[in-house]
Symmetry: D2
Subunit: 304 residues, 4 copies
């Protein structure tokens, strides 16, 4: 074959298989999102449309589709339908519908972490395959679903997410990883809530940064309550800590988005006009505390 003379260059490809028996975390992070947010007029400190779009790119469910209706047209060349009529295709749309080995995901702001089962053999556990596919799928979904979440705001730049892969050898370290991200969410959100409250009240961004520099949580909570009367009960659920946490925070604190697969009941109409119930495992978004044990006790299958 004509190309065989050059094929030796394949030997330069390195084997980057990840250590077996470890949890694989792929974390994506928006690149240059400060500029991207400004450009598209994201609300501050948190734009709910943007957060929902992130969740969608993580979990939009595969759409079952009959190719009889679905294929836009028969192949131009051969004038034949490439698939037998009526054959259903499952079309993945987003990370968790494409990668069934993702057990759990956690998102906050412009970042998202995906946790692959510790014994996943997906793509031979090759690091570059996994990180690039997750980044590719998430980014492409983000653009696809943009118009649904930002109707009237055309995309003015290409959104990008970089990725990294981290291994955690034990349940303990995996939980600490997720706790790290959720604690980070709390800290960042409290800061941002204060910062934008000050800016909206008339301070410059420089003054706001100055006032908050080095302050503790208590100070920020008090500031929001006394000066801005912020009461987290009036905020949508995703923006506050659930009552169960009982930690006494008086301010809006994002929990981030936790995505796990749960049984969802679907009601379908049957041919004879009746209905049929069908249960399916689907990625669902929760906003709850994953630092304490309660969440993990309730979902023992996650770390099993």
């Amino acid at each position: 074959m004509a190309c065989s003379k050059y094929e030796y260059v394949k030997q330069y490809e390195a084997d980057d298989r990840l250590l077996p028996g470890c949890w694989i975390v792929v974390r994506l992070d928006g690149k240059g999102f400060t500029k991207f947010c400004d450009l598209h007029g994201f609300e501050k400190p948190n734009d709910e449309r943007a957060l929902r779009l992130m969740d969608e790119a993580a979990k939009a469910r595969a759409s079952g589709r009959s190719l009889r209706r679905g294929a836009p047209r028969p192949c131009r060349c051969c004038r034949r339908s490439p698939h037998a009529p009526g054959r259903a295709l499952l079309l993945p749309q987003a990370v968790m519908s494409e990668f069934q080995d993702v057990r759990l995901a956690f998102g906050e702001s412009d970042e998202y972490s995906f946790v692959f089962a510790r014994n996943s053999q997906l793509h031979g556990r090759r690091a570059s395959k996994l990180v690039s596919l997750v980044a590719s799928c998430f980014s492409a979904s983000y653009v696809r679903f943009w118009a649904q979440h930002f109707p009237g705001t055309p995309l003015a730049a290409t959104p990008m997410f970089d990725g990294r892969v981290v291994l955690y050898p034990s349940n303990h370290t995996l939980r600490d990883y997720l706790s790290w991200r959720q604690a980070d969410t709390h800290v960042n959100n409290l800061y941002n809530t204060c910062f934008w409250a000050l800016v909206k009240s008339g301070k410059s961004t420089g003054e706001a940064h100055e006032q908050l520099r080095g302050t503790l949580s208590d100070y920020k909570n008090e500031l929001l309550f006394s000066q801005f009367g912020l009461n987290y009960n009036t905020l949508p659920e995703r923006f506050r800590k659930p009552a169960s946490c009982g930690c006494g925070c008086l301010v809006a604190v994002l929990q981030g988005s936790i995505v796990i697969r749960q049984r969802v009941m679907h009601v379908k109409q049957t041919a004879d006009g009746g209905t049929k119930e069908k249960e399916r495992l689907e990625p669902c978004v929760l906003h709850c505390d994953i630092i304490r044990d309660a969440f993990w006790a309730q979902h023992p299958e996650l770390l099993a």
Copy 2:
């Protein structure tokens, strides 16, 4: 800070910096594109719209944009424009406008290779950063530009590309890598041209595969000429070998897409109604032979 107790998990992140002084090749490859092509009715053996979309995702140029007009609206929160009026932003749209260190790219079918300068320090040469960002940018661009190239055909699934990183320590091995991909393009395209010619003439796909199994190039060239009267002169340029190759192929042979940065003259209207010429370096697509020395002699800056 509340989260410091968990921060130790950062130590689990591995350092994956690539060896300095080597050419970095990031190769993307469409995932499940046979199905994706069928689903969207791509023409066989080559769909020019799809190839142009691939090129666009590789090279679409950054759009300069004045934020005065450009920002869709002032920030909802602070009612202020986030950028000083009139400040121009350069908005990257695709891989080569985002990554200035990409010297050269080569695309064929549903794959694309990007060659970073051997001394590039981009993202500290971290492998996972580079491969994920390129895959992310390419995939997001592919979706963004889909409607321009496939008007009337809505995206029915999320296109995905996996990536890998390969290092080449010398100019010699880098050229052999690119020769490997272009030779592969030739071989695949000749096969596919024959295969689809046979199928369109009435054979089943199984019969077509059977007839071509194990045959050499000469046989396939002869088949196309004698049986189908295929003459590469009647095909659009991207589908044939340039005259200069003189190899006597009588059939459509894709060269693939070579993207390099070239000086392009832009004529701009000035305020007083006159015109001004401005030269800019821009990614341009070529379809030429990169296996022989002629191309490299003409573009000495590529390997410098």
Copy 3:
């Protein structure tokens, strides 16, 4: 400084730190030991002197030494003793006295595995440092202690051991690793015992291989018993399975050498002619079953 111009080459050194939280196993393997054994007349199938030398290179204890007596002479240049008189130095002699983080070692034939504590920070967990130091220390010790175990047989070639590093993320996988090595010891030893029994009885090596090819353990056990009357009770302890195993093997089966740190009582003479007892943790060699739970239940500190 004169050399700074070249110092950039340090950037080519890769970071090869091992994933935290995993057991680190460094396994050494004799290079070309078939020839080395022949050359020095090792007994077959097992040479006890050679096995004891392997154990010694793994565990010989550090010798405390007072430099007052110990330093062969004052420094030639400065005529001063480089250390304050009477200061004691602890001189490491072998792998387990040099590397306190080695929890456990397992040796058989010409190979030895060293298990570092899962949280060891030794040399920043750099793979090449660890594997090269262990190989270096073991090989140098092997040569140092050669004459003690092979008096009258001068070394005719340099013994060499290659090394590899493997990570095990859980106690379960680490135990399976050690079980793998011990099961391998059993299998190899049964084969070798039969093979050399046949050879010593007059068969050629080719005939012996032929007779044993593809046979099961039962056959080999029976062969040894019926034909050679081999009774493991008459063999030294290291060559047989302990009675507790109860598996019914009738032949010599090496358990290999398990080295763990145990409290050892030392009796010392005091200045006034009396004695003083002192307990010290020291590497000790055992020959026991480490596949079953009993061993691990007895030594819970090993996996703690």
Copy 4:
């Protein structure tokens, strides 16, 4: 087979093959040699016996050996000689006789660098194999040859060398690596020569360090000449720069040891009492400048 159930643990072994087409440098470095030197009374600033021992561990030539005389005795078990009578064995003794792919080595003080041919396929280019074998071979040789170089001084501790592997993708970077090491030799040696001259003249080590801190080469050269009358012409060759360097240094400057393979003529006595000449390629130690081009122009085969 009994052990197959555990064999899955082999999957945890990572593939650490080094990038093809790059020079492989394995650098060894003495561990704790300050203490080791003191313990064995090494002369300061340079102990010629110790340097010669380092060179020997790097290059001692393989000894051809007829097993008829050589094997200490027939095998104890089978009473047969394991090799046909008179068959010659080549017994490697040190790094460069064992690893024919080492093109060149450079040693200074207690470190040694070995350069493997850029296309070496030795041990599949596996990093851990190469670094551990070189460290093992060097350390074992160091102990074997100790008594020849330090007669009357028994080894009181096990000498150890850690290793690392570095890749250099071009001739240019490899030469810069070697220049870096030789420049380092110059700088260190000038400092050490001054330091020990001051100490021998009666200063404490603290005072000597204080006087030299931050001084330039010129100052140190002048100090040696004016205060100690040191003239490099009276020093053995390995301790000074060759005349050809013409750089005007007036002090002892170690070039380090460069080991390359050169044709050496051996004169052998024949059976009839005459002589026969035979040329062989053997590792030879040079002490010359490898920073400038002259050395490389003279030995074009090294980088070919």
